[in-house]
């Protein structure tokens, strides 16, 4: 606060004492507040260190290099009980990230469908959407999670009576088991082919847009891209002699063995967060669409644009400007709600951190890591959404 107190000569000074000068008082309060804030923070930190010392409790972050000694049910990276506590936290972090990202994507899709559905002229669709929103919006997220978890456990069969789905996919109360691809020699060419196909698709799309803007002729983009992305890797696959095989789940002593499994904990958390957050997103979408002037729709209709295209090309792009900022909060909520995973035993950051907290007894350190990670996750999400918002903002010509 480098505001000079004596730099306002042209202002007529009040005849009273300096105590009544609003500027002096303003600075005074600010200085006092800062002093007290610093004192309180210092006092809390000092007191904590003092108390920890007196209670003979170990402190510091050295424990992160210690052997964890416990196993984690689901892990995206290699992890055994011989790994460190630090790595266990990373496992939890990735699990949080996984459920947050997949949840955000699904919640957005469901939310947009339901939100637009609420505005439908079809009575049944509108009422169904309304019921969906009111049911999920008015239940605490923890209950939704329990609902899905007990639902998943109660409805699905025991492992020995697994329900067999097409493509060697099996469903039981241990989750969904599906064939795991095993990449043999030469399978990298399939990957190269796929990458080339994606790049080619972008080039084709770019070319198609330029062509349409220049001549008005439309190019069958969808089919071309599909053909490229599926056809090119398939050709490579056949040309290199089918190097990719599948590890199919088979019945073992306790459960299916082999293949990949998505556990019921992830499934129920993912479904619960998606459905719960989607109800809020639906309302945001509805508000956003309602916020677009009716004249825009009428103008589009007057030009002969079909209703579906009107929504997609005229209404939604304008509605997005209203939708994105509150959407960010919902994404943040979903990420933070994922910590409710602890209730159903999904190994997210909080669950794994809680185990570490208990095994090492270092509560303050673990809690500080939780805070930092969630703060960083939320700030990153906000940054991305702000960038997206800036891109979607009205560009005046």
């Amino acid at each position: 606060m480098a505001i000079g107190v004596t730099t306002t000569p042209e202002k007529s000074k009040p005849s009273g004492s300096i105590i009544n000068d609003p500027q002096v008082r303003g600075i005074f309060y600010q200085v006092i507040t800062v002093i007290i804030l610093v004192a309180v923070v210092y006092w809390i930190a000092d007191n904590t260190i003092e108390n920890l010392k007196r209670a003979n409790i170990a402190s510091g972050y050295g424990f992160l290099n210690g052997r964890a000694g416990f196993d984690v049910g689901q892990s995206l990276i290699a992890y055994t009980s011989d790994s460190t506590y630090g790595r266990a936290l990373v496992v939890g972090f990735f699990n949080t990230l996984l459920v947050a990202i997949t949840g955000i994507i699904t919640a957005t899709i469901i939310g947009f469908i339901v939100g637009i559905g609420r505005l439908s002229h079809n009575w049944l669709i509108a009422k169904l959407s309304l019921a969906y929103v009111e049911v999920f919006r008015n239940i605490p997220p923890l209950l939704v999670i329990f609902f899905w978890y007990s639902g998943v456990l109660a409805v699905l069969p025991q492992p020995r009576e697994s329900a067999a789905l097409p493509l060697n996919i099996f469903l039981n109360n241990r989750g969904i088991a599906f064939p795991k691809p095993v990449f043999g020699d030469g399978s990298q060419y399939v990957l190269y082919a796929f990458v080339i196909a994606v790049i080619a698709s972008f080039l084709v799309a770019h070319h198609a847009r330029i062509k349409q803007e220049a001549t008005g002729q439309r190019f069958p983009l969808l089919w071309t891209v599909l053909g490229l992305v599926i056809g090119l890797p398939l050709l490579a696959f056949l040309a290199t002699g089918s190097p990719i095989t599948f590890d199919v789940p088979v019945a073992g002593k306790f459960n299916l063995t082999g293949g990949s499994v998505i556990g019921p904990e992830f499934l129920s958390l993912f479904l619960a967060l998606s459905f719960y957050t989607a109800a809020f997103i639906a309302e945001i979408v509805r508000a956003g669409i309602r916020g677009v002037s009716k004249g825009q729709t009428e103008a589009a209709h007057a030009l002969g644009v079909r209703p579906g295209l009107t929504t997609r090309l005229v209404v939604v792009p304008q509605a997005m400007r209203i939708i994105i900022p509150p959407l960010t909060s919902q994404y943040l909520n979903l990420t933070k709600n994922s910590s409710l995973a602890i209730a159903i035993g999904y190994a997210d950051l909080v669950a794994v951190g809680g185990t570490i907290l208990n095994q090492t007894g270092q509560a303050i350190e673990v809690v500080s890591i939780w805070i930092i990670v969630y703060l960083s996750l939320s700030l990153t999400t906000s940054l991305l959404m702000n960038w997206f918002n800036a891109r979607m903002a009205l560009v005046e010509r």
Binding site: N56, Q158, A351, G354, T355, L357, N358, T360
Partner: protein, 341 residues
Amino acid sequence: MARSILTALVGAAVMGIGAHAASAATLDDVKAKGFVQCGVNTGLAGFAAPDASGNWSGFDVDYCKAIAAAIFADGTKVKYTPTSAKERFPALQSGEVDVLARNTTWTINRDTALGFNFRPVNYYDGQGFMVRKGLNVKSALELSGAAVCVQTGTTTELNLADYFKANNLQYNPVVFEKLEEVNAAYDAGRCDVYTTDQSGLYSLRLTLSKPDDHMILPEIISKEPLGPAVRQGDDQWFDIVSWVHYALIQAEEFGVTQANIEEMKKSTNPDVQRFLGVEADSKIGTDLGLTNEWAVNIIKAVGNYGEVFDRNIGAGSPLKIERGLNALWSKGGIQYAPPVR
């Protein structure tokens, strides 16, 4: 606005300073507030569980009552704090509870890095496995590939990982924070195996929907000495909690029971006289910071160790756990009290 923030800040600071001075002698605090704050399990039949009207009973609960009786001559002067496996240690560290009687395993880490003190072991336990009879499993070594339900933040979780690794077995851990959640998941068939201390398995089996469909495997894979824990740095309180246990053992050894306590006070055996504080010029309780009647009060409130055991988890309870290692040293077990002298 600025003023209200200021007021709030000053208020918070004053409250914080008040908290700084807490944690002097635990016995004085307990006497001042008039009850013992006891950390117990959230609900483990036989060890600590509330009944329909909210009255706690169980093996660990009787230890809380015995401590209260030793101090106040009244076993009801206890307040219970139910804690999950994860919550129990911060609760004791922060001073929220005075003593933790919550089937807690004594380990070197908890004794040192966590800042606790353990001494008496009131139950010698070991970790076991429970499975459905329908799986036709006869030994823990046949469990490769199984999904195992376990409570987080326990020594059990660590022993499990070590045992399966040492025996080259695969497993899929299904981990919950609360005991009730583990029970529900095992009962619903989420996992094939339930592992915890063997005493706990006997207790939990009773709560399953079909207890007879489940069996406990013979293997004991760990040592789990369970006992009350207190904070480091208060030797007097540590002594009281330790000697409450030794008094229970000693009473069983002398044959002093809830029923015959008044009679035994007239005993001519000098050891018994000294123990019950009726010896002339006795300082047997005052040196602990209690009254000389402390052992008498404990036995009046809960009986001796054998009575506590039988009533809650032994022959006189639905659990029917054998005394085994928990028999007196003179009867083939390892429960042993230092001399009261």
